[in-house]
């Protein structure tokens, strides 16, 4: 079965320190990979995606993510965390082709709560 794992329910970081939110996946073929952020009482906002090419992709608000095909991972990173980055982060994957009748639907991880303290 195709799945996305975010192994950490919560990540705590001090402001100014680097942050990493982990994501691994199990999807047939070459997937497209996405990160979304959800602020309290808000919908999801798109941060960045990996389609092909350079394994390091840059997105909104200074975030970046590194695609590692051998480890089937797509970890979200930021060099210096801000208190305003505190939110719920979702990793999502989608098969690049319709494998096994998946219909190309987005598969979401369970989310990781990021807490950045001053």
């Amino acid at each position: 079965a195709q799945s996305v794992a975010q192994p950490e329910d919560q990540v705590n970081v001090a402001e100014g320190n680097p942050l990493t939110v982990k994501c691994t996946y199990s999807v047939s073929g070459n997937p497209y990979l996405f990160w979304y952020v959800q602020y309290p009482n808000r919908g999801l906002q798109f941060l960045l995606k990996y389609i092909t090419g350079d394994n390091l992709v840059k997105g909104s608000y200074g975030f970046e993510a590194e695609f590692n095909k051998s480890q089937t991972s797509f970890h979200l990173k930021k060099p210096s965390a801000l208190v305003s980055d505190s939110a719920l982060y979702f990793c999502a994957v989608r098969p690049s082709m319709n494998y096994g009748g998946s219909q190309g639907n987005l598969i979401f991880g369970k989310g990781t709560k990021l807490s950045v303290k001053p």
Partner: protein, 118 residues
Amino acid sequence: SAVISQKPSRDICQRGTSLTIQCQVDSQVTMMFWYRQQPGQSLTLIATANQGSEATYESGFVIDKFPISRPNLTFSTLTVSNMSPEDSSIYLCSVEVRAGVDLSNEQFFGPGTRLTVL
């Protein structure tokens, strides 16, 4: 990116009643989707809203419980019928501009409708 609005933003409903949620996009989009986000959990796809035809439902969701309309390329509704407390969730509309079989585009999400069923 698309600007998506949902109405109502929140509601408290009695068991056995029905609620219709509206999703309006500021531009024509190929795909519209409805998701459910139960408290503390990830997003689950309910269905794909198809313009001019019946929605495509995911496993575990049926038309009688979650009837969906999509009369044009900018508007869709989701009805939660005969509600029970287990239907208490955030319901999210999302949209995607998709060209043919290209699955590389991101989805954009509305702000969500927070439903509480008593």
